[in-house]
């Protein structure tokens, strides 16, 4: 059972705000998901190698050469705030 404090910890780890109004619903639903996936604990997997992805072959590498062209102006059109090619965030003092 995940308690509100557990959800607050996950929320900080994930950099994802969960408001006080949301927290009860999130704890209930996350608890039911965790209870469902807990079925996995009963499976005997001794000696079974973990499968990270379905490709049964080594990852391909490409030649270490620059192929990208400079497209920062196009990419930065989607940013909330840009100045002289730099992404801006609110002023923070830590």
């Amino acid at each position: 059972m995940l308690r509100p404090d557990d959800i607050r910890r996950l929320s900080r780890l994930a950099r994802l705000e969960v408001t006080d109004a949301e927290i009860a619903d999130v704890s209930t639903k996350l608890s039911s998901i965790v209870a469902m996936v807990d079925q996995l604990q009963a499976v005997d997997t001794a000696g079974v190698p973990p499968m990270a992805h379905p490709l049964d072959r080594p990852q391909r590498l490409r030649a270490d050469v620059v192929t990208d062209v400079d497209r920062h102006e196009i990419y930065q059109r989607n940013a909330a705030e840009v100045e002289r090619g730099l992404y801006l965030v609110p002023k923070v003092i830590e």
Binding site: L13, R15, S32, L40, N78, P90
Partner: protein
Amino acid sequence: MHTRTLAQLSADLRARRISATELTIHFLDRIAKHDAILNSFITVTAEQALAAAAAADQRLASGDAAPLTGVPLAHKDIFCTAGVKTTCASKMLDNFVAPYDATIVERLQNAGAVLLGKTNMDEFAMGSSNETSFYGPVRNPWDHALVPGGSSGGSAAAVAARIAPAATGTDTGGSIRQPAALTGITGLKPTYGRVSRYGMIAFASSLDQAGVLTQTAEDAALLLEVMAGFDERDSTSLDEPVPPYSKLVNEPWERITIGVPESFFDEGLDADNASALRAALKEFEKLGATLKPITLDYIHLSVPAYYVVAPAEASSNLSRFDGVRFGYRSPAQPGDDLNAFYMRNRGEGFGPEVKRRILTGTYVLSAGYFDAYYLQAQKVRKLVSDDFARAFRDVDFVAGPTTPAPAFGLGQKTGDPIQMYLNDIYTIGANLAGLPAMSLPCGFVRNLPVGLQLVAPPLHEAQLLKAGHHFQRATDWHARVPGHYA
């Protein structure tokens, strides 16, 4: 005109019985007439479509046309389209205009296909009913009170209502096959790595695969032939030749053996669905297939394994959405530190289901839980995958239901995530194992369509499509159109 298949429209265009412009106008008119109710499109690209249609007509006139030249289709709004809003059905990307084309978008465009628009979906492809979309739910064309399935629900509804002749989709746990089944159309998820994921917004990178939702298996073959193939921009792209699928589907039927896991027909399956599926399997027998009962010992664990692996990968993939380089940014508040800024951008930009998945993923990856959940799920994934490999020593396909029941009501399962997740109980195995799989319309239950799923060994798309094509020559379930849209 709208009830004609992609293959038929392609022939009509090349014989100059119809122009690409006429065809495009016809479908744009149908979208304008029907989509206020269906809500299957997020963006309609009418202007670009008409320009592309005019270009296609020139190619057709000059005799330089490819099979897809002038054929209209729709892309799920998960694929980046240069200069066109690409939202993934999220408030987070409501203002995002893609700076480049996804590989499949580029390939279909080069082949001359005309883009009608971008289809609605569950937010970031997380959902099985299309109800998690920031742009509202999509309605099932067979009954507007029901969901079309998800996450490619907009693509499925658009093709089922014949307001688009075909559409692309993505499938991480059943997101092509489940909506195809619930709307009475054909849905193909290719082998993991068969189709490039470049420019497809990532959900769970070891499971995601692009595919198609079409009226027929023959149409799916036409599209896959253009979409599939090696792409150096996707590190998981398979460097394997692309067979001429659209020719191969017409080859004569070979003797095939279909494995049927009896556990798929237990009390979890609607009894009427089971009857429709049994009848469809009989039809395959009449076509010369041999049915063989098989067992998949670990398949019942595919849902829990998936709901560890997929959220874990999602929590990592979606960490890129911080409100700095792109995406939603919350208005600044006094006293913000950088963390508060990130947390609010993400907390306000993502909807409830996406938040649950990110938090679940964060939980299973966090210190102290990694081995018990994430590593254990990867081991169970191996067991599920080995089950299929063992089965394919004796059979050509594994057949079963695509979904446990016909389409359900809007709002019926939104309160209980587990009930929603169990909708994908028959489809998730193919994603965990990376196998190609297809849903075919195979009957009706209470006036709603039912889908039969066939799963094949890696890279056996041609065999799957051929089996589907032969089945569809012997049956007419795929040709049924909801009355309102006929």
